[in-house]
């Protein structure tokens, strides 16, 4: 092969690659420009902070979902799981006030409970899927109903609220931050960076992609398929715990309506970001872009009030489809 042809090849590859890679980024940039044009406050510190901080819950969960989907799975239960974890956390913290008093230790304990509950919930899903070998869609559809129902039951149909004083102490975890960057944003960023690292640069990430691409090949290559698959659900469960830790200080409450449809948003963010729904290929940074796209659509619709609010959903739908058109692979290329 001559040098010249290699160069040309590189360019062709690059072009194709770039579309696929840059698609979601491009959509994001278009949205940002649109937002800035529609409203001068769009790029204000306040609005940017709001949007990023709000994205954190879904974002943190979607990072975990990226692993699950890459490994060929799906998890419909994350929204109810978040509600359930929040409920358990609040009940636990309230009930420990008499013993531990209101203070940092109690909040730390609450956080630990959130992670542990998330871990357990994810473990349960993972166990049924990878050991008992039930279709992930069904397991998590089932557990979605179970967690949602349990939190409603725990709250007696109403809302579980964190003790008022305790809440005041905990509140800064959502509203304050470091050097002007609020905590949820920081945590989301850390989770995303770690996630990208794990996906791209560790054996676990490789194994997830291998399992999603062809489980048989993974098995024949001495990959511990069950364990890795299980780990994706456990990781996701723990990240649901982390998301909840950020969520509870925001409004200090949890109810049957907490986290409704988060699963759909998280999955959508993952797919918009370029991860393949049937597994085999995933990218965490894409997911982050996907999450931001979804949050921005809402934000822009609120800021612009262009049309009947009844049509917000339609505009959302159109934008989501358009965002993905940009990154579609050219079919004839294969």
């Amino acid at each position: 092969m001559t040098e010249a042809t290699l160069g040309a090849l590189d360019k062709a590859k690059l072009r194709r690659l770039n579309f696929h890679v840059l698609g979601p980024l491009l959509a994001l940039i278009v949205l940002i420009i649109l937002g800035a044009m529609l409203n001068p406050n769009f790029l204000s510190y306040g609005n940017v902070t709001n949007v990023l901080a709000r994205s954190a819950f879904i974002g943190i969960i979607a990072v975990g979902m990226t692993f699950v989907i890459t490994a060929g799975g799906i998890d419909l239960s994350v929204g109810s799981m978040a509600a359930f974890v929040a409920g358990v956390m609040i009940l636990f913290m309230n009930s420990l006030i008499p013993y531990m008093g209101i203070g940092i230790p109690l909040i730390m304990a609450g956080m630990a409970v959130a992670i542990i509950t998330g871990f357990a919930a994810g473990w349960m899903n993972g166990f049924l899927i990878s050991k008992v070998n039930i279709e992930a869609f069904i397991v998590t559809l089932g557990s979605m109903g179970i967690y949602r129902s349990l939190v409603t039951w725990l709250a007696d149909g109403g809302t579980l609220s964190l003790d008022f004083e305790l809440r005041s102490l905990y509140r800064p975890v959502y509203y304050d931050g470091l050097l002007g960057v609020s905590w949820p944003i920081i945590v989301f960023a850390i989770v995303a960076i770690l996630g990208e690292l794990v996906m791209r640069h560790t054996a676990f990430g490789r194994h997830c992609a291998a399992i999603g691409a062809n489980e048989q090949v993974a098995r024949y290559s001495a990959v511990k398929v069950d364990r890795a698959r299980m780990a994706t659900y456990v990781l996701l469960g723990m990240l649901v715990g982390v998301a909840t830790i950020m969520y509870v200080p925001r409004l200090g409450s949890a109810s049957g309506s907490t986290g409704v449809l988060w699963e759909l948003e998280a999955i959508a963010a993952v797919i918009i970001g370029g991860t393949v729904l049937k597994g085999g290929y995933g990218r965490v940074w894409g997911t982050v872009v996907g999450v931001l796209i979804l949050s921005l659509i809402d934000n822009i619709l609120n800021l612009a009030s262009i049309v009947s609010p009844y049509l917000n959903g339609a505009i959302q739908g159109v934008i989501v489809i358009l965002a993905v058109v940009l990154q579609r692979e050219n079919k004839s290329a294969d």
Partner: protein, 294 residues
């Protein structure tokens, strides 16, 4: 054994604060009445959509042989003829809150007053704001009921010179309301008051205002009388001057009256409209029920 009577109760499931309260009151009332009247049986079904509610009602008739039905229609239109079919079989029907779209089907109607709810809030805004003041509105889930409230509210402030800057759906949900209010705050530099139309939404709204540090700039009126909100009115929170009631306990009234109609010889028919009331710091105490989940 023969004079055992069964009452079916079909209500929407506890998907948000108000309905949570309503579910709570329904269960409490049933428990209480089952103790008082051993000859009464109750069947409670909760539904997440109109179709499921129709299913529940069908099941009650086909398999539980109910003698009376207490129903809070998920939506008025789709429930009308199924409930009518029940009434046509000679089963006692009590309708709660959201009326059917055809008059005269039910034996008993117990309801809050949605236009009244909106009007009362609107009148308060009219009296307490000046011409040229700006407000934003958070609506509920797109439904007829929400439309009635918003129409009445709009009518009440008409001609007052109050500017409605924006209306968006907060879906009677804390998180949605928080997001929408955050964006309203980014968008508008001058807001004098917020009509949140529901106390769950009011909570999200207040949190967003607090985050922006604009508590002194505007006050908020929610609705339905959630205990936390009532408490703050009682305590004289300047940000929450008043509230408009829409009691979830209306379901208790409905079930009780129905039970009474079945066990006594004098059935209670007619319409019981539980008008919305304005909760003020002065009268708040009588609306405060610390044990209710709502």
């Amino acid at each position: 054994q023969d004079d055992t009577k069964t009452i079916g109760v079909a209500i929407p499931s506890a998907t948000h604060g108000f309905m949570g309260g309503l579910n709570y009151h329904a269960q409490e009332t049933i428990k209480r009445l089952e103790e008082t009247y051993p000859q009464l049986d109750f069947v409670l079904a909760t539904a997440g959509n109109a179709g499921k509610m129709v299913n529940d009602i069908e099941d009650m008739v086909a398999t539980r042989d109910i003698d009376a039905l207490v129903v809070l229609p998920f939506e008025s239109e789709p429930l009308t003829s199924p409930v009518k079919a029940v009434a046509d079989q000679g089963i006692w029907v009590t309708v709660v809150d959201r009326g059917l779209s055809q008059p005269g089907i039910e034996d008993l109607y117990v309801a809050g007053d949605n236009p009244g709810f909106g009007r009362m809030a609107g009148e308060y805004f009219r009296e307490n704001l000046d011409e040229g003041d700006n407000i934003v509105v958070l609506r509920g889930i797109p439904t007829t009921l929400d439309n009635e409230r918003v129409e009445a509210f709009t009518a009440a402030i008409e001609g007052s010179g109050i500017n409605v800057l924006d209306m968006q759906h907060g879906n009677w949900n804390r998180d949605d309301a928080f997001n929408v209010m955050q964006d309203f705050l980014s968008k508008y530099d001058d807001i004098d008051a917020v009509w949140a139309a529901d106390d769950d939404m009011a909570i999200g709204v207040m949190e967003a205002i607090a985050q922006a540090g604009r508590e002194d700039e505007m006050w908020v009126v929610g609705g339905a009388g959630m205990k936390e909100i009532i408490k703050r009115i009682m305590d004289g929170d300047p940000q929450l001057p008043v509230n408009v009631t829409y009691p979830p306990a209306q379901i208790s009234t409905a079930i009780e009256l129905t039970a009474l109609g079945l066990v006594s010889d004098a059935p209670v028919t007619g319409r019981f409209i539980i008008g919305s009331q304005l909760v003020t710091p002065e009268n708040a105490e009588q609306f405060y029920f610390p044990d209710s989940p709502f």
